[in-house]
Symmetry: C2
Subunit: 814 residues, 2 copies
């Protein structure tokens, strides 16, 4: 049959909603299959794809339109990988198309062939030829499409076209006014599944754990049986302990069943409980055998119990556990949502090394790998439905939110790390639809609350910031940003305690400060830096004026972190908090930021380069001895000759000794309430020119040390007069160029925070749009400096840098 321009099945006519087309097979099982290399039933389907970022009229055009710039594209792939932080343009919101030819080969009689998508943004439609196979509405859930009956060409090949659409849409969540990018693309793994005609769809393991009793585990399963086949089946279950020893075995015959059913329950005596300090994981292998074939899946689970005392702390396995948390978006420099697995592993490892035991996966269902890592590393999880700044919305949006909540809980049910199912975030945002009195934000949250408890009575629901419904979720966090969006950080305790009696189960989610990596201040609390209210956080815009931003130094942020952490140590009633956010991330909301379109509240840059604040947290939370002298990215400090200058040292050790240019400035003991730096601070006078600071800290027998080198500049600087531009480092493939803003005498203007723009002509290409301080062609200076790197070709390049008020500078790179 010739493949001619015809009408394809139109979404408007045929697609009723997400549930009609997706979730045919539980992606939890699909994921278990796909991530288990011993399973012959699954294989990655991540090569052979082509991609075009274009709006097309339908799948016919995906194969027949000239002039579309298709390019080979391995998956996973986010089509906003390099435009989310473009200083000059907003990130693309629209259609992206993927296409591939496939010759399915399922050797099982009447077997089913499925494609498993571990997540794609934001609405995904699959076609075989011009045939509509399925559609998923949701940017963060897993889904499968059954292509067994998909249209093939006469040569037996299937032409698959996938439309990912992240254009703005009021019918879905999260809302477009969210402070993060709603990315597009096949940004998580894609697998082909060759299943028997009858296969396992969902396997849930529900442990009941109580102090000093055997744990009782319930195993239930649901089948995928689209042909409604009947007949006998055999189910085998093998459970192993964290050390691999057998715990339970069972095998039985039963008829192929409908709906979910409990298959077995079994006790675990002397359970090895899961906790942050001992993240012990059991494994359950379930095998289904029938005349249609055999399938095994392995699911991990954990045994733990918890209690959240009213107006008091959180207890895990009977012991008080202060929740030391941070937060995470799925976003990384150069990849956006398509974070490679090794980077995800590195990120969670860094979070754990910092001493965190708690994480909020903001603001949506994250990848199975992320949850697996939380299980393995011992991070208690607050996972969240992306009902974020959406308001009541319309019926389609509400249906989408309900669907996605059920999906998240079903797909992540077995992860022991998850304690909190968050129903959403910031549903009292200005201008969102509060509802009409019958359908209100509060009543809709109650619906979600009921769904969450129906799906999973073993966990708590949670919510951050919704003043009209603080009593609806099991756990609630108000918005407290003292020292950043409002007030002074010194008032944190007072403000926090004001909520203690009002909220039954209080967590404090989101606190912190923006800072521009590599920007430092000698006096961060100076007049230069008033508290301010950011546009996005104005809850009552008529009352709170928008005041000017401060200097966004790391120094100020460290002091704020230090103050909050010192305060939290003294509140035995307080259950815990999560700082916002571990890593800088891109947002459509903040084009005016020092790195345009980047939310810079991270403890690391968007590429996981640590900022100084990371070490502040580590000094409060980590067990392993550490010491860190503030200022590793501060090449020049300044002041008058002989003027005392503050040296901050962050350490979790009992004491530390500081050396300036080899000479001891004395030993100081750590005293948690001696702000800043828990007393580990000195105020020496530096030599003009080169200085070396070295700290040696001791915790019991352990000794750790850290050193920084810097220049001390006593020469004052005048008005900015010109830019320098020099090559700072080089390799065959790359060059790093640095600009400085200097006065008429050539002295660097060390407090300059002007915005500069780099550009290049010739063979080189800027490594930009990365959302990092050294990876943005438009960026604010850090203490008078900025740098960027170039990829070189054989051809010479000329780099330019411009800054309002001074002449452009140029540099030839040969």
């Amino acid at each position: 049959m010739p493949f001619t321009r015809r009408n394809f099945l139109k979404s408007s006519a045929l697609l009723g909603g997400a549930s009609a087309f997706s979730f045919a097979v539980s992606p939890a099982v699909a994921h278990a299959l796909a991530s288990d290399p011993t399973q012959a039933l699954a294989q990655p389907f991540e090569t052979g794809w082509e991609f075009a970022r274009a709006s097309l009229g339908g799948p016919w055009e995906a194969w027949n339109l000239d002039g579309i710039a298709w390019r080979t594209q391995p998956l996973p792939h986010c089509f906003n990988a390099l435009d989310a932080c473009d200083p000059d343009h907003q990130a693309y919101r629209g259609q992206g198309w993927y296409r591939a030819r496939l010759r399915p080969s399922n050797s099982l009689p009447r077997g089913r062939t499925l494609i498993h998508f571990a997540g794609a943004g934001q609405r995904t439609t699959l076609y075989a030829g011009e045939q509509l196979i399925g559609r998923n509405i949701g940017g963060y859930n897993e889904f499968v499409f059954d292509i067994t009956d998909g249209a093939k060409d006469i040569d037996g090949q299937m032409r698959l076209a996938v439309l990912c659409d992240n254009s703005r849409d009021l019918d879905t969540i999260p809302s477009d006014i969210s402070d993060f990018n709603l990315y597009g693309g096949l940004y998580r793994h894609v697998n082909l599944l060759y299943l028997p005609a009858v296969s396992l769809e969902t396997v849930h393991i529900l442990p009941q754990v109580a102090p000093n009793q055997p744990a009782i585990c319930h195993v239930s399963a649901q089948l995928y049986n689209p042909l409604h086949l009947t007949g006998p089946a055999e189910v085998s279950i093998e459970v192993t302990a964290p050390d691999g020893s057998p715990v339970f075995r069972h095998s039985g015959n039963l008829a192929i069943w409908q709906e979910a059913r409990e298959l077995v329950q079994f006790p675990v005596r002397d359970p090895r409980l899961w906790s942050p300090s001992s993240p012990s994981l059991y494994a359950c292998r379930l095998t289904l055998r029938s005349e249609h074939g055999e399938q095994s899946v392995t699911q991990r689970f954990g045994l733990r119990h918890f209690e959240f005392q009213d107006h008091g702390p959180f207890l895990l396995n009977g012991e008080k556990l202060f929740l030391r948390g941070t937060q995470r978006h799925e976003d990384h420099a150069g990849y956006a949502a398509a974070v490679p697995d090794d980077i995800t592993r590195q990120e969670f490892s860094m979070i754990r090394d910092m001493g965190a035991n708690f994480i909020r996966l903001a603001h949506y269902q994250q990848s199975q790998l992320a949850l697996d890592l939380c299980d393995e590393l011992g991070l208690i999880v607050w996972e969240e439905l992306p009902w974020c700044r959406s308001g009541v919305g319309d019926p389609a949006m509400r249906a989408n939110a309900r669907d996605l909540l059920r999906t998240m809980i079903r797909q992540h049910f077995n992860h022991p790390s998850i304690v909190f199912w968050s129903l959403g975030n910031e549903e009292d945002w200005p201008n969102i639809d509060p509802g009409d009195g019958t359908e209100t934000v509060r009543s809709f949250m109650q619906q979600l609350q009921e769904i969450a408890h129906q799906e999973d009575s073993s966990r708590l629901t949670a919510f951050r910031r919704c003043r009209t419904a603080t009593d609806v979720p099991d756990v609630y966090s108000p918005s407290i940003w003292e020292g950043w969006y409002s007030g002074r950080y010194q008032d944190y305790q007072k403000v926090l305690e004001g909520y203690r009696d009002k909220i039954r189960h209080l967590l404090h989610m989101e606190w912190g400060a923006d800072c521009h990596a590599r920007r430092h201040a000698e006096e961060p609390t100076g007049e230069d830096y008033p508290p301010f209210v950011a546009a996005g956080e104005r809850s009552t815009p008529a009352v709170l004026p928008l005041v000017k931003h401060g200097d966004w130094s790391e120094t100020y942020a460290c002091d704020l972190f230090d103050w909050y952490l010192k305060t939290q140590e003294t509140l035995p009633w307080f259950a815990g908090s999560a700082q916002w956010i571990f890593k800088d991330f891109s947002t459509p909301d903040r084009p005016e930021n020092p790195i345009p379109r980047v939310n810079q509240k991270g403890l690391t840059e968007r590429d996981l380069t640590k900022k100084e604040g990371y070490y502040v947290f580590q000094s409060w939370w980590a067990e392993k001895p550490m010491v860190h002298v503030y200022g590793h990215s501060w090449p020049v400090r300044w002041g008058r000759p002989g003027q005392p200058r503050l040296v901050r040292v962050y350490s979790n050790c009992d004491s530390a000794e500081l050396f300036l240019n080899g000479k001891s400035l004395g030993v100081k003991a750590r005293n948690s309430q001696d702000f800043p730096c828990a007393g580990l601070r000195w105020s020496p006078s530096f030599l003009p020119g080169e200085n070396v600071l070295r700290a040696i800290a001791r915790k019991g027998a352990a000794v750790v040390e850290d050193e920084v080198q810097f220049l001390y500049q006593t020469q004052p600087w005048g008005k900015a007069a010109s830019l320098t531009l020099t090559r700072k480092a080089e390799s065959a493939a790359n060059a790093v160029v640095e600009t400085t803003l200097v006065d008429a005498n050539g002295a660097i203007c060390l407090d300059a925070r002007n915005c500069v723009r780099f550009s290049v002509v010739g063979g080189g290409t800027l490594n930009d749009n990365l959302g990092t301080v050294t990876g943005s062609r438009v960026v604010e200076l850090c203490n008078g400096r900025a740098e960027i790197s170039l990829r070189l070709s054989g051809q010479p390049s000329i780099v330019g840098v411009s800054c309002d008020g001074v002449p452009d500078a140029f540099l030839r790179i040969s």
Copy 2:
């Protein structure tokens, strides 16, 4: 009422098609109102708008989303103005939003307030607040929306948001595989109309004209009366002759009527007939008075009759008229579809000055101004439905095509210049849907044919290229491209005559050649330049191989034009043709062209800069004496010392004399069949270095002359070794830089057609994305040269130019 994030009325739920929402008032009348400055009822609504090129979730987001880059945008405006010819990216296809606040002030009791859009691409939706006002599906028709009952804010202001969407859509015409861009935006005029409660909607004047008889004119009108009011009305009609003298007056009372009705018919004795040589226009002023108010509209019309003889010529007003035509897209450098009125006037004036009497408005309904100019200048019009490479499509597409055909005919009914209603173009393109046997391309064309004749029995239908339906339209053009997409131009007559007996009414629409302005060849028919088949024109791709492109010189194109024109003069049976196309235009299909994404078959560049071919046509068609020495943009000719070199002179005069460096080379008489140049050619030997050629031509008493200066290079050149880059011209605000490709000895490689890329760093900005030979940062060399201009700021710039195989060159512009 607070304006909160709510559901807006969804297009998928409520919008049934174009006709349900648009065409409430005939835009012909709306246009007559809007373009008549004496009418207080209409005012331009082209300032106060803001624009953002972004996909939004709906009108709520047009007013409430942070981070959307709204900018002030006067109308008309095309949102592809600067990306249609971007060498690096495809033109944007998606949503563009316009918003404005309006305080409507219609002083008439129960008066209606309308917004008139003279055309917008490609689908347009208007909202007041979140209220859906109307939707138009079609990129080229006029439409009005009635905002009388539109939602207002409490302060009485209406928040208007207009969504223009040009994303690809198989349900509409033209097809996305068309060889022109489907632009987006409010690219024609927008007006506010304050009408009485009952007003004139359509006024049609149908003249019946026969030789040597009085013309009989029928005037009919339809009312716009959305409140279904009744009562008495008075209608007055005044008709004036081309010289302003009164022809007819009538006044009468009647009841407010429903549907269209004939109001009056009147004779015109001794009519002044409309023709290209005497484009005489009558005017009819119609005034409606009722208790609701008074409204007058003036419509122009013309009196003419025509005959198309079977297998023979076309006769206008009883005399044979050979149709000498070209074609036009609405497209211009820097504006795309939003061509300013003065440029439109200049363009039609140039077409008329070239001697054309016929024009095809390709491939869609063009602006009223374009039609007004054809009426005034005497250009016979083939206007076209954009059913172009669409195939049978789906029912929605076919309904859209039928709607748009009716709309075009109703809106342009009164223009005397229009003779042909074209039903479409190229509906036998490879891979389009030929239909299923019941609904086929042929049967659908028959439907369109019937609609056209129902709407207007006074004109002919037409079609270009559809081999399965050559007998359906009244007039048919096959595809003949001898010398460009196939064959040799020398075979033109043979191929054309092959159609004479097969086609009852034959016109030859589309012929010509691409050429790169400023590229010239000493020997354009050399081996270097085989006939070739372009990808887009391969009708049987398996049979015709894609052969390499030639040198795209102006010289070859001029010879081809010359040959076709000479041939056409000798065929008394032949009705006429239209060369493709008057002006270069942008297309998504040709990224590999010498100017990427530009169809370069124009007789002018995309900014109306004449190419040499313009003068070839003028020499055959124009009445006014002219002479043109070929090579005004050819600074260096080449050859051996003493080698004879061909000099082409194009003139419509009886004879011409050529002078080389002041010395006569003799007088030659024009002989139309002496190819090339109708015998006006010489083959002198040039001096090495500076030469001056001067032609003096005589036609009766008239004397015209033309001169070119150039260098003659006898030094051969070797392999390309490097690029030069120099500043060629300058002003305070602009600089022009030129690059040349030279060999190791610095000699320009005069046959080089390499592709070069310009870039700039620093304060300057390239004037690029214009689709002209000097306005594209990626462009093929013309005889070893290329240039581009920069807008300068106070800051210095460095321009770079690169070309594969040689080092980049740089130039500092201070």
